[in-house]
């Protein structure tokens, strides 16, 4: 940092002829500390979501139903740590238990092992990375498949159906929202006369004021029925309905950022084009839009982040069946909806709980990257345009 970056003058505001102002100095430092809160929060979010997911990521969880058991009368031979690990207890819990309870717990383990299903999938640990992302040949299926069935007897935790579900709804939403929002942004920022513009912009941004649970409700009750009547597909709630409803949430994001980028192109660009005899549309399409194209790109990237992270709309309108299929009219289950629907029923600290946090961490990473890309692109664009203006 350069020298003039120092905000307060010397130590406690004391320097060559200044009176000491310790209070002011302290308040300034305090203001600086508080301003770091946004950075701290982003950091904490990642830290604490990832912390819960870490055991899965490091392969420390084991969901297999058949484990090696130790007979209760062998207890004396085990060391304290071995016993603790075997019974899956925390040191605190372990300290609270007496010998009898521990013996009972060991007996329960043996009984549970005897009751485990006689299935060749039962001994599998379904929480490894390869089980999370690669297809597996389950008993009773003809070929290796991607399956998300965390509540079934054998916990199947394949994330691929959820990722496909999320991408499907996001793609449909972007296909609808981006052209509409961009066209509206061009119209409002370049073609509409100033008086109309004054009320058009807040009117479209009012769309952002509709809570996502209301959009989900509308998709569930009204849009789903209307669209089924129009297109005549089978399942009432599907990726298509969810995608269209999601588009309503994405439009204001794409619109306001694209409009902002288009407006930040200096007026002189348009004026020069008009003076050379172009029409208003030509000036907008061939001069302003190319100049603002990084901003448009950023708008689309942020729209993507909004769409993939939206929860309530997808939870209510997509039907929530975790199927891998190419059809847009099949019911799907997205990553966000899975977290919202299943977390309340999981055992605290269990493998299902941890895998849902892993999905959350993945979502955070995806949106973090898309936000960062958009932020850098917009920053560069603004610097470039302001330099030129």
């Amino acid at each position: 940092m350069a020298k003039q970056d120092k905000r307060s003058v010397g130590w406690m505001g004391l320097k060559r002829g200044h009176r000491a102002r310790p209070l002011e100095w302290i308040v300034e430092k305090f203001i600086f500390m508080v301003s770091l809160s946004a950075i701290v929060m982003v950091f904490l979010i990642f830290l604490f979501v990832a912390r819960e997911a870490l055991p899965v990521a490091l392969g420390q969880t084991n969901s297999s139903l058949v484990k090696k058991t130790i007979a209760p009368d062998q207890m004396e031979k085990l060391s304290r740590t071995e016993l603790m690990e075997y019974l899956e207890l925390t040191p605190k819990q372990f300290a609270q238990m007496d010998k009898e309870t521990l013996k009972d717990l060991m007996l329960v383990k043996v009984e549970a092992a005897a009751e485990a299903p006689n299935d060749k999938d039962a001994p599998l640990n379904t929480t490894t990375w390869s089980m999370l992302f690669k297809p597996h040949q389950w008993t009773g299926y003809d070929q290796p498949e991607y399956i998300w069935q965390p509540i079934s007897q054998i916990h199947k935790y394949n994330l691929v159906p959820l990722i496909i579900g999320s991408l499907k709804t996001t793609l449909i939403a972007l296909l609808f929202a981006v052209p509409l929002a961009l066209a509206a942004a061009i119209y409002v920022s370049q073609l509409a006369d100033p008086k109309t513009k004054e009320w058009l912009k807040p009117a479209i941004e009012l769309l952002a004021g509709i809570p996502s649970v209301v959009l989900g409700f509308f998709a569930l009750l009204v849009m789903a029925s209307v669209m089924q009547a129009v297109f005549g597909y089978q399942s009432r709630l599907n990726a298509f309905v969810a995608g269209i409803a999601l588009a309503l949430a994405v439009i204001p994001v794409v619109f306001s950022i694209a409009e902002d980028a288009l407006t930040s192109v200096p007026r002189s660009f348009t004026q020069a084009a008009l003076a050379l005899g172009s029409s208003k549309w030509q000036a907008a399409w061939k001069i302003v839009l190319p100049a603002a194209i990084p901003g448009v790109f950023a708008a689309v990237v942020l729209g993507f982040g909004r769409a993939i992270g939206e929860t309530m709309v997808v939870l209510m309108a997509s039907g929530n069946a975790s199927i891998v299929s190419g059809s847009l009219f099949d019911s799907t289950r997205s990553m966000t909806a899975t977290i919202a629907a299943e977390l309340a029923e999981t055992v605290f600290g269990g493998h299902h709980y941890r895998i849902l946090f892993l999905i959350g961490a993945l979502l955070f990473i995806v949106t973090f990257l898309s936000n960062m890309v958009a932020d850098i692109v917009i920053h560069r664009l603004k610097a470039k345009l302001e330099g030129k203006a």
């Binding site: 300034e28 301003s35 809160s37 946004a38 979010i45 604490f48 509206a184 992270g309 939206e310 973090f368």
Partner: protein, 343 residues
């Protein structure tokens, strides 16, 4: 066709006369057909202007259809009794259900949230506009973090609230205050944790709105205050902040409207399906208006029968968030107008 030379000047022409003369001249020139401009070019332009205008219209039409549908279907059910009565265990009974506890729950969590978020948001905005260099690395990173925070999915905030506030902070508080008691007091979903989670989520809204209003204050005001011998902090407290009050208000209102409609962050951090009593402590759970919309539309035993109360609840929620939004827009418009006259 080249424009003709202007008509000869009158010997004593006033400014008004000159303007009239030029206006006449321009009107005449516009009447001349511009032969070199191809007709297809004009058509193109009209077509695309129409097309983009249509897209704008389509978005507004969608908005109007949604609002119209909800208002039309919701208004008959939104009676005084419905708003002011509590709900019994059976919240799906059309004649008995009420939403007062949900409205109070939402209001409580939102007010708690503003207590946390406004001071932090305003102080951050003050640092960014008054102290930081706009090009320094700190500023860049803080701004990046603010934008990033605005884009984190709401469900991830819910996970964060569970992992950080409930498990970590709440768990530590339990261990500290009552280590013998096995039943957690703080380490479980509560209105305090829901509000804190929402405060983290709406921090960017407050920062951005406050920053905008701080930038709108003419630098001359600050310079005048400094020239009279006030210190920087005195200038900020006595001159800058009072001027920025409408902007801070807008930020607060927008964050409230955003938070009131969110469900995902409070799913695991405090909202309850049903509670017999209103929350009286910070560690109580609460019933919530937007979560209630979710319950009514997905858990109803007979969706056709409960449709009137569902629509009425949605309308109540929408009126709450929209009223706040419109107030914010009006304050902001007035602020911008004043800024234009001041600069």
């Amino acid at each position: 066709m080249p424009p003709k030379s202007p008509p000869p000047e009158a010997p004593f022409e006033s400014a008004l006369q000159r303007r009239r003369r030029w206006k006449l001249l321009i009107a005449k020139q516009d009447a001349v057909p511009w032969t070199f401009q191809s007709t297809t070019l004009g058509l193109d332009s009209k077509f695309f202007t129409g097309l983009t205008g249509f897209a704008t219209f389509l978005i507004l039409a969608l908005l109007a259809v949604i609002l119209g549908n909800i208002i039309f279907n919701g208004l008959p059910g939104l009676t005084w009794r419905f708003i002011t009565s509590g709900t019994e265990k059976d919240m799906f009974d059309v004649n008995k259900a009420g939403i007062l506890p949900m409205i109070l729950g939402t209001a409580a969590r939102v007010i708690l949230m503003t207590i946390f978020v406004i001071p932090i948001g305003v102080i951050t905005a003050i640092y960014l506009t008054e102290y930081a260099h706009s090009t320094s690395l700190y500023t860049r990173v803080i701004r990046g973090a603010v934008n990033n925070l605005a884009g984190v999915p709401s469900i991830v905030f819910g996970l964060f609230g569970l992992g950080f506030f409930i498990n970590y902070v709440g768990g530590s508080m339990d261990a500290l205050f009552n280590p013998v008691n096995a039943e957690p007091v703080w380490g479980k979903p509560a209105i305090l944790w829901a509000s804190l989670t929402l405060a983290v989520m709406t921090l960017p809204v407050v920062i951005v709105a406050t920053e905008e209003s701080l930038r709108a204050i003419p630098p001359g005001l600050r310079e005048a205050s400094l020239a009279l011998g006030a210190t920087k902090l005195e200038t900020i407290l006595r001159i800058v902040l009072p001027q920025a009050l409408p902007g801070i208000l807008t930020g607060g209102i927008l964050s409230v409207s955003r938070a009131a409609g969110e469900v995902a962050p409070i799913l695991f951090t405090g909202a309850a399906y049903y509670m017999a009593t209103l929350p009286t402590h910070l560690y109580d759970q609460f019933m919530d208006l937007s979560y209630h919309v979710f319950i009514l539309s997905t858990q109803s035993p007979n969706i056709e029968k409960t449709r009137p109360i569902l629509y009425a609840t949605v309308l109540a929620l929408l009126m709450l968030t929209f009223a706040l939004n419109i107030v914010a827009i009006l304050i902001r418009a007035r602020m911008r107008k004043r800024m234009r006259t001041l600069h």
